[in-house]
C-alpha cells in the first residue's frame, strides 16, 4: 500500500509542475510547521521523563560527533571533488550535516504504518543533531580566510530559531508533564499528527516543484552530490544508531536523520553567518533533489538497511 505522506507530496509536486493555481496560504504552512515541531517534541519529552539519563547522554554525545563529522565529509567532497569555492562548500556542507525534521517525521510515519517500533526519545536526538553541523559549517567557511567566525552569534541565533525553540520547548514541556500529563493533549498532538503531516507534505510538494527549474543552474555535480550523499550518510547514521544500541526502528530513523538535509535551520543560519554563499545553490539541491529522494526512495531503503544491522 502506498504511503499517504508520499501521495500528498506527489500531489503537490504534480500540481506545481502542471502550473496549477493551488497555493497553500503561508500562515497555514507556518501553523503546520509549528504544530509538527511541537508534536514531535512533546512526544519525545514524555518519553524522556522515563528514560535513564546516562544512556541518553551517551547517545547525545554520539549524535554530536556524527553532526560534526558529516559536514566535514560533505565539505571535502564539494571542495576537492567538485572544486566549489570555500563559502559555498561550507554552506552546503552545513545543510547536509544538519537534519530535516519533516524527513524525520516522514520516516516515523513510514515505520508506524508498518508497526515497526522505535525509541520514543528519538526527537531528542533530532534536536541534538540540528546545531553542531551549523557551527562546523561556519568554521569551515571562515578558517584560514582571516574573517571572524562569529560562532557565538550563530549558536545564539540557532538556539532561538523556531525549530529549536519548538522542538526543545516541546521536549521540555513533555518531560515536565510526563505520559499522564500529556495524555489530554493526545487528541490534538497525537491523533491529528499524520493528517497534519500530509497537509504539510502537500505544501512541500508545491515548494519542491518550484525549486526544480533552479536545479539546472546548480549543475550536474551538485545534483549528483545531492543524490549520492544521502545513502552514504545513511550508512554512517545507521552505524551511529547501532553504536547507540538502538532498535531496528531507531537505527532506521538515525539513518534517515543523517541522510536528510536541513532546509529551515541551516538556510537561516548560513544566510546570516556566511552571507556570500549563494543560497539558491544549496536550497535547489536540498529541496529539489535530496528531500524528494529521501521521502520517495531513501526511507524504505534505510529501513531495510536497519533491519539487516539490528
Amino acid at each position: 500500500m502506498p504511503d499517504p505522506v508520499v501521495l500528498f507530496f506527489a500531489l503537490g509536486l504534480a500540481a506545481r509542475l502542471a502550473r496549477s493555481d493551488l497555493r497553500m496560504p503561508e500562515p497555514l504552512y507556518e501553523a503546520l510547521s509549528i504544530y509538527l515541531l511541537l508534536a514531535l517534541g512533546l512526544k519525545g519529552g514524555a518519553a524522556l521523563a522515563q528514560s535513564a539519563a546516562p544512556a541518553l547522554a551517551g547517545q547525545a554525545l554520539l549524535a554530536i560527533a556524527l553532526g560534526c563529522v558529516l559536514p566535514l565529509i560533505a565539505f571535502a567532497i564539494l571542495r576537492h571533488l567538485g572544486g566549489i569555492d570555500r563559502s559555498n562548500s561550507a554552506a552546503i556542507a552545513a545543510h547536509y550535516g544538519s537534519v530535516s525534521v519533516v524527513t524525520f517525521a516522514a520516516g516515523l510515519a513510514y515505520l508506524n504504518a508498518r508497526a515497526i517500533a522505535s525509541e520514543p526519545t528519538m526527537p531528542f536526538l533530532v534536536a541534538v543533531l540540528e546545531v553542531p553541523a551549523l557551527l562546523v559549517g561556519v568554521l569551515l567557511a571562515r578558517l584560514g580566510t582571516g574573517r571572524e567566525a562569529h560562532l557565538l552569534r550563530t549558536v545564539r541565533e540557532a538556539a532561538v530559531g523556531k525549530s529549536i525553540v519548538l522542538l526543545a520547548g516541546g521536549l521540555a514541556i513533555g518531560a515536565l508533564l510526563g505520559k499522564e500529563g500529556t495524555a489530554p493533549l493526545e487528541p490534538l498532538f497525537g491523533d491529528l499528527f499524520k493528517g497534519a503531516l500530509c497537509l504539510f507534505m502537500l505544501e512541500l510538494g508545491l515548494v519542491v516543484g518550484g525549486q526544480l527549474p533552479a536545479l539546472r543552474r546548480a549543475g550536474a555535480f551538485l545534483a549528483g552530490f545531492a543524490l549520492a550523499v544521502p545513502p552514504l550518510f545513511a550508512v554512517l547514521g545507521a552505524g551511529t544508531g547501532w553504536l547507540m544500541g538502538l532498535s531496528h526502528g531507531g537505527i532506521a530513523l538515525m539513518a534517515t536523520l543523517a541522510a536528510s538535509a536541513s532546509y529551515i535551520a541551516a538556510p537561516a543560519a548560513m544566510r546570516m553567518a556566511v552571507p556570500e554563499a549563494n543560497p539558491a545553490l544549496s536550497i535547489s539541491v536540498v529541496l529539489g533533489v535530496t528531500f524528494p529522494f529521501n521521502v520517495l526512495v531513501g526511507i524504505p531503503l534505510y529501513e531495510r538497511m536497519a533491519a539487516a544491522i539490528a
Binding site: 537561516a268 544566510r271 543560497p279
Partner: protein, 102 residues
Amino acid sequence: MTALHPRKLVTVVCEATLERAVLDTLRAAGAGGYTAAEARGQGSRGERAGDWEGSRSIQIQVLCDADTAGRLVEALLARYSADFALTLWVSDVAVARPGKFP
C-alpha cells in the same frame, strides 16, 4: 487648506531574514518609524514566492527627510547589496506633519 511639506519615501524590498538588520540600520540613520509588509516577487536573484521560510521577502517603507534618506540608502547598499536580495528606491512625497518624519 493644510500645508504640505516635502519628504522622502524610502522603500526597501529584501529577504525577510534581513528584517532586524534593516530596522537596526534604519534607527541608526535617524528615521522615526517605518511600515513593513510581507512581499513576494521576482528579481535578479530569482523568484521569491514567499511560500516557505527561505523565500520570504518583506517591504519596509520609511518616511524621512532627505539627509536621513541619504544615510539610510548608503548604509543599506554598503552592508547588504552584495550578498542579499535587496532592492530600494526613493520617491518624493508630501506630508502634512513634518515633525513626525525626521
